[in-house]
């Protein structure tokens, strides 16, 4: 019994330590972000931010777009198979448009980026830790949070909402394809129905979620990298852990945000 209690206590303390570390890292990064900004910040840091934006956003574009098209198509097909029975096939448009704008656009993008870039952040920082590159930054009077993390976080904050918008558009486009082939609905009519079914608050809540997901992915990935201890095998473990934890936290955050928006914004 004592062992179980000890184990529960230890795990609780570890989790609290993790959340605390994330919190401290987030505030330190916010303080250091100014130097990663264009014009007012350090120009080399801004170049690093642009490089990161290309890696997180531009390089992920084909994958995210394809995922969104497939998911949009699946959602339309599954929705249509049920709605057809009630003669309400046109509700597929609402289902796809609202579903993607509020929910699937941000979530799909976050899961794709978490797998691509969250793991890359953990691997990069973990390798830097193992090869003493982080120590060499510190002895050069450069803080790793300012030098490595701030450009990544800023890039994620810009790229992930942009990717979210693009994935939402592709998801809605897939719904349009389905409607065209199943009911011969003209693209222009489909566009009008879509515009009628989504409201500005749907777009805003979707973007708020994507900013929160960007924060989770960047910080969990980097924290896992910073926490690497030992040799190269621990880099592999931290990479896996970054993907698992960030995906889990993204889904938890999504549930929390959806509940908040449901009860406050009255979606």
């Amino acid at each position: 019994m004592a062992n179980i209690l000890e184990d529960v206590g230890k795990r609780t303390l570890n989790e609290l330590d993790y959340v605390g570390s994330l919190n401290i890292q987030l505030w330190s990064t916010l303080g250091a972000m100014k130097k990663a900004l264009p014009f007012v910040g350090n120009r080399y840091r801004w170049h690093a931010t642009v490089r990161q934006m290309l890696q997180i956003g531009y390089d992920a574009l084909p994958m995210v777009s394809l995922m969104a098209v497939c998911t949009g198509f699946i959602l339309a097909l599954q929705g249509a198979s049920e709605l057809r029975r009630f003669g309400a096939l046109h509700y597929v448009i609402d289902l796809v448009a609202v579903g993607f704008t509020r929910e699937l656009g941000p979530l799909l993008t976050a899961i794709a980026v978490s797998g691509r870039s969250g793991s890359a952040f953990a691997a990069e920082l973990g390798t830097m830790k193992v090869t003493e590159e982080l120590d060499s930054l510190r002895v050069m009077a450069l803080e790793p949070i300012e030098f490595v993390l701030a450009p990544k976080y800023l890039a994620a904050l810009i790229s992930i909402p942009c990717l979210t918008i693009i994935s939402t558009l592709f998801g809605i486009f897939a719904g349009g394809l389905f409607m065209f082939f199943s009911t011969r609905l003209a693209p222009l009519m489909y566009f009008r129905y879509v515009m009628g079914s989504i409201a500005l608050r749907d777009v805003i809540t979707g973007l708020i979620k994507s900013v929160a997901f960007a924060t989770i992915i960047a910080h969990v990935g980097c924290l896992e990298g910073f926490r690497v201890r030992g040799g190269p095998d621990s880099v592999g473990r931290s990479t896996t852990s970054a993907v698992v934890k960030s995906t889990f936290l993204v889904i938890v955050a999504d549930a929390i945000f959806t509940a908040i928006f449901y009860f406050t914004v009255k979606l």
């Binding site: 090869t131 003493e132 060499s136 002895v139 050069m140």
Partner: protein, 267 residues
């Protein structure tokens, strides 16, 4: 007044004492070699000197500033006067050799890019890497990487140069070249040089004084001749390459007894 004073320094990891009440003073312009076997605490002492870790007790005073107690801003200032070349070289793999050397100049000075390029070329020329400036670290040999790390450590013209195992893993000729480079830096630029090594030929070639570590304590500190003449059995064993008695029957029996005691304590 010494440029570095180490006073009653105690370092512990998980309750295990690694450095025990160390005292050492390093004068401006001298080459101090920290000599000792594997696990003697050399690298731990070096990490204390460059402020990467905090001790359990004691002080490390560099240019009048106690870096174990000072605020982060002051620590950064002190670090700018120290150049460090790590054992693994720790060059940034994503940057060319020239960019590695330029990094501290770009971050800590407001020099024009053309001046930075000139300074980088000069530093690389000093270590004999001027023709390899555009190469990435993974395209260099072990000795070239170490020289690249020295060039980066020299970038801000530090008053103190710290080198961790500069000749480890290098062939005798490259190791000798590095020794000559250290001597040149010390004589030509008047730098205070601290070298951590367990290579005796190298230590006796470059040192003004040698501090010999054994199991976390200094067993002898003195000039090369004083160390050579030492009659301390631990110093003699190291200099005369006498192996420790780890595989004798008595030693194995002692270890086994310790193991049994620890198992009993667990139960």
């Amino acid at each position: 007044m010494p440029i570095i004073s180490i006073r009653d320094l105690v370092v512990e990891y998980d309750g295990r004492r690694i450095l025990d009440s160390l005292n050492l003073e390093i004068e401006r312009g001298e080459t101090m070699v920290l000599l000792g076997g594997s696990g003697s605490g050399k690298s731990t002492l070096l990490r204390q000197i460059i402020g990467l870790e905090r001790p359990r007790s004691g002080n490390v005073i560099i240019k009048g500033v106690d870096i174990t107690r000072c605020p982060p801003g002051e620590l950064k200032k002190v670090r700018r006067s120290i150049g460090v070349a790590f054992q693994s070289a720790a060059l940034f793999n994503s940057l060319s050799v020239a960019d590695n050397v330029a990094l501290p100049l770009r971050e800590h000075t407001r020099l024009a890019p053309s001046i930075i390029d000139l300074m980088v070329w000069m530093k690389l020329a000093v270590v004999g890497l001027a023709d390899f400036a555009k190469l990435l670290p993974q395209e260099l040999s072990g000795g070239m990487k170490k020289r690249g790390a020295v060039a980066r450590a020299l970038a801000l013209d530090p008053e103190i140069l710290v080198l961790d195992e500069p000749s480890a893993g290098l062939d005798p000729i490259v190791a000798a070249e590095l020794d000559e480079l250290i001597l040149l830096l010390n004589h030509a630029f008047g730098m205070t040089v601290i070298v951590v090594t367990h290579e005796m030929p190298s230590a006796f070639r470059i040192a003004d004084r040698i501090a010999m570590l054994h199991k976390g304590t200094f067993i002898s500190v003195g000039t090369k001749d004083e160390i050579r003449a030492s009659q301390d059995p631990r110093v003699r064993n190291f200099l005369d390459r006498v192996p420790e008695d780890i595989a004798s029957a008595a030693a194995v029996a002692t270890h086994f007894e310790k193991y049994l005691h620890s198992q009993e304590a667990h139960q």
